[in-house]
Amino acid sequence: MHTRPEDIVITSDNSSRLCARTIKADFPVLSQDINGHKLVYLDNAASSQKPQSVIDELSRFYSEDNANIHRGLHTLAERSTNAYESTRKRVAKFIGCQNPDEVILNSGTTAGINLIAYSWGEEHINEGDEIVITEMEHHANLIPWVILAKRKKAVLKRIPITSDGRLNLDDIENIITDRTKILALSHMSNVLGTINPVTEIAEIAHKHGAIVVADGAQAVPHMPVDVSTLGVDFYTFSAHKMLGPTGVGVLWGKKELLDKMQPFMTGGEMIREVHFDKVTWAEIPHRFEPGTPNIAGVVGFAAAIDYLENIGMDKIRQHEIEITRYALEKLSKIDKLDIQGPTEPDIRGAAISFTDHNVHPHDISTFLDSKGIAIRAGHHCAQPLLRILGKVATARASFYIYNDEADVDALVQAIIEMKKYFGV
């Protein structure tokens, strides 16, 4: 195991702080130069980097245990199955879920939301029903509902945002009604950084008999999440944004709901008995895991969770609050730069979208890249939100455990140089 406890040291001045520099050393990708500058990776909301321990676990698995899972009676198949199933338990514990059967392992957040929209939606949504989303949704938690609403002639309603990028709940009692069947909202916005008051809104939705789907793609990597108290019915996230391998995701759902749902995709490993004219399904979670899954990816995901838990999700959240505070303070001092989202770090994460009055986000990104700084520019898979913000694109810097104040300083310095470069 690469992550020794002593790797995660605490700085002398403040015991709640991470030492990002020591953590950085665990991520081989971060030690390289890009365009002659040490890489400053600030594209974490798109995907995180991987510690050596995760990379090593993938190699180890393929070199020692690899085999297809379930139904196999030989040693490798048993080892693979155990490693796969123990990740399920690991994930359950990580998100405060008591029953690992409620954890469906899949290929990502997108797969999880589509599963709910097809399986639960197909059965329960009828003409005239209402589906409530928010204006700040990622396409993954938006298009499946747009499509479902269209297919079922249901009504798509949305919770608007305030000018500082929070949900505007003033009119919530008119938005969520007895006709509401689903409320789908992101726990943390990938554009605005906003952490939404999921529990509070879920309570209103439940009062009206709706189910609540939360998109945790941006939340789980960055803050403690406990589904046993969050108050939602379904929760989805992706491993690749939280130090884990690509192609792995989680859909958590309440057993009472999952038990009654028809499978979405069908194939091997998810059945009880198959005839040409009749098929009976396996119990959850297997019913929702057809075919050969991303076995190695799932096994590597456990190493990612180990790494995060070794640091502690509370500490990670605290670290990101500090770095967000610092970044917001520094960025807001730059002339003609607009920052999106809440200004108070304690109600937001470390994804910071900004625009320059003159330089286009794509030019910002290209320029920063020439200084070794990786940020993202574009619509961040949230076109409707950007339209509401009046932007066609923003630049976004998003921070994680291995980023520190020095990275913010590098960003700010480069933005200042950029303004000079384009001279507009």
Binding site: N35, H362, D363, F367, S370, H379, V392, F422, G423, V424
Partner: protein
């Protein structure tokens, strides 16, 4: 990476002081281009005299590259015959996509766009103005001059 190779002085000059921004009185055809991946938009309006482009309005909302590309285009094509312009635009498209092309000796500022080729993700930006022009001429030639053409660099130009 040679940033200056893409953002050449000529490009930055066109970006800062884009040509072709003066609205024109009468137009013979127009077209609108859109790049959904970037959000870039361009509106082109063209007036003709004896088969030559007499006036052009090219309003590009986008990054430095797409803005400069539109400005370079506006400057270059003014006064030229439609046929010739069509041929040149097609060849600029091919040049940007790294395909074989023939361009006139006198390219004006067009050759400043060549540096974009080293930044594959930005090629689309440079293409937008030229594709929009090609579509506009095509529609004019087939008698649909007053229809607004919406082209997208995502469509087949990816």
């Amino acid at each position: 990476m040679l940033l200056d190779d893409m953002y050449r002085d000529v490009i930055l000059d066109h970006y800062r002081y884009p040509r072709g921004r003066k609205p024109i009185e009468k137009k013979d055809f127009s077209s609108i281009g859109h790049n959904p991946a970037c959000g870039d938009d361009i509106t082109i309006q063209i007036a003709l005299e004896n088969g030559n482009i007499s006036e052009i309005f090219a309003d590009c909302k986008g990054c430095a590259i797409s803005t400069a590309s539109g400005s370079i285009m506006a400057e270059y094509i003014k006064g030229k015959a439609v046929d010739e312009v069509k041929h040149i635009a097609q060849n600029v498209r091919q040049m940007l996509k790294g395909e074989p092309c023939e361009l006139p000796d006198d390219m004006g500022d067009i050759d400043a766009l060549e540096g974009v080729k080293n930044f594959p993700v930005r090629i689309k930006c440079a293409l937008l103005a030229w594709i929009t022009l090609i579509e506009g001429i095509g529609n004019y030639e087939s008698g649909h001059a007053d229809e607004i053409v919406v082209v997208s660099t995502e469509q087949g130009e990816d």
